[in-house]
Amino acid sequence: MSKLLAACLLAALAAPAQDARRIVEEVQRRSRAVSERYEGSLRVTNARGKVSEKRWRYDRLGSHGASKAVLRFTAPAEVKGVALLILNHPERSSDQWMWTPALERERRIALQDRRTRFFGTDFSFEDLEERDVAQYDYRLDGEEALDGAACWRLEARPRQAKISQYDRSLLWVRQDHYVFWRIENYRRGVLVRRVTYRDLEKVQGIWTARTIEMADLRENSRTVLRLEQLAYNLPLKDEAFTLQALRVE
């Protein structure tokens, strides 16, 4: 009897953590797609209010921990053709290579270099990875309405195998559609980047935020990414996500 009581007590103590993980698992389950493609329109506004615009094409094969992605700039002309290959892994940080046409070479982006801004945007190389539920420990931190939508607020901390520039993230997940609605990333207790999601739409059965704003709070700059021509479950080929593909595509 006492053993059963102890087990119930332990289960009750562990419940919030499990709930938090289940919420993120459900977010992943609902957003799972065989592939994804979109044309990204980026608007970068720096601390002085100066605006620059870029465009990239994003292709992804697989979902979350077992996915591959290629991101290729299409504008402005100066960076056209610059591409990033991301191989995401469920158990550890991704591998990334950047292809620069002017040099005719690819360069591996080392883990310690992932906090660097990606080509003048407010996204760091790490922010372009796909987060997998297994790489973080979660805790339910409460509930809160955000832009009129009821959200769960979760705290995520990277596990040891996941090397991250952020030691803690706060995630807001909409209770109606199980989508991320805001993410705040902290480094040494200081909020450094905030991701805000907007314009929620159901695309091929997947609720997707069509606008993502990344704010770099130290630089006081922000990048607004619009997902255009978004499509899921396209028949993308595995061979389009290799170093050779970076060179010849």
Partner: protein, 411 residues
Amino acid sequence: MRPSPYRRCAWSSALALAAAWPGFGQAFSQRGFVETRFVAYPQTAPGDRGRAVAEALLRYEAAWKPLPGWRFAGSFDARADTHRQVERAWDLAWQDRDLRRPAFAVRRLSATYRRGPLTFEAGKQFIRWGKTDLLNPTDRFAPRDYLAVVDKDFLGVTAARLTLEQKNDTLDVVWQPRFTPSRLPLLDQRWVVLPEVAVRDAGARYPGRSQFGWRWNRLGPGFEYSFSFFDGFHHLPVLEAQAQLKPFRVNVTRVYPRLRMYGADAAVPLKWVTVKAEAAWLTSSTQQADEYVLYVVQVERQSGEWFLVGGYAGEAVTAARRGFDFSPDRGLARALLAHAGYTIDATRSLALEAAIRDNGDGLWARFSYSQTLGQHWRATLSFSLIRGAAEDFLGQYRRNSHVSLALRYSF
């Protein structure tokens, strides 16, 4: 003079591409830039009293994917300058064997076919090997334009390249039927420091044989390494000098020595820095050519808006012979090399590159400030400082420190 078959081939290929233009549609992409560059040298040089050079370059690049797996890529350069570094002829160059830069050149024209793990590319293309950033001893299919020695640009090679990519392994096999040399500084200009005698270029003896090489690259979890082999000719020449009495002068013939290269490179990210190393043992059956090992070890780190690279390039001569060569890659060896970049914001950046010989006899440093102006324009202001002893490879150019301003419009 009748245009060579190669020039006719290049013209007809370019025309064929242009003729097919309306059908390109969605599978066609293009880009390019127009750049004007002004270079000012505060000092005159013994062979060159000019202090200002203006250059203009139009580069146009296009790619067409007519069918799944197929890709045709072309790139075209048109140039002009004020200092006779560019040919004043209307020929379209394909081979890059002219002493001067051609006014019109096919920089690239290749067809690529991909199927599963295989990629095959044939035609004029760029092939880059190696992992280090400061000097690449294993980069044997990459001749360069050394007209202004410290501001070098790569030249394409006519080759067939087969690449097999299987999970973490990539095997690259290259066959280059026709040799492309590096372009050397002009004898009557400041980047050649001549003795007090008249020297005449007596032409070149180009190799008739093809070149071959392979490289196997392996990606590990967080590290990568490769081994490579090359059998062919050095794209930099040894110089054969013959004295002529009436009138007294020295005739110099460019001879490209046989070369066999055994190379390796690796990149290992550690906790704080990434260590990259590259080494090649270059052997030759040509009597005038040295045999040597060239190696580079560098560490790099990106932190915030900083990009920092520092390293050492070394050389160990395994067979010293008595040839006289022009060898900028060896000229940068036995030196500390550094590269630092800082991104001020989305539109402005700074860069510093430097090479300092370990005996202190030569120094080259270039500081650049670059700024984009709107969506299309970029201005880059650079200052190159060269100092050292007359006997040193870098030091011999000590009167060639210069300032340059480049204005580029990208489209």
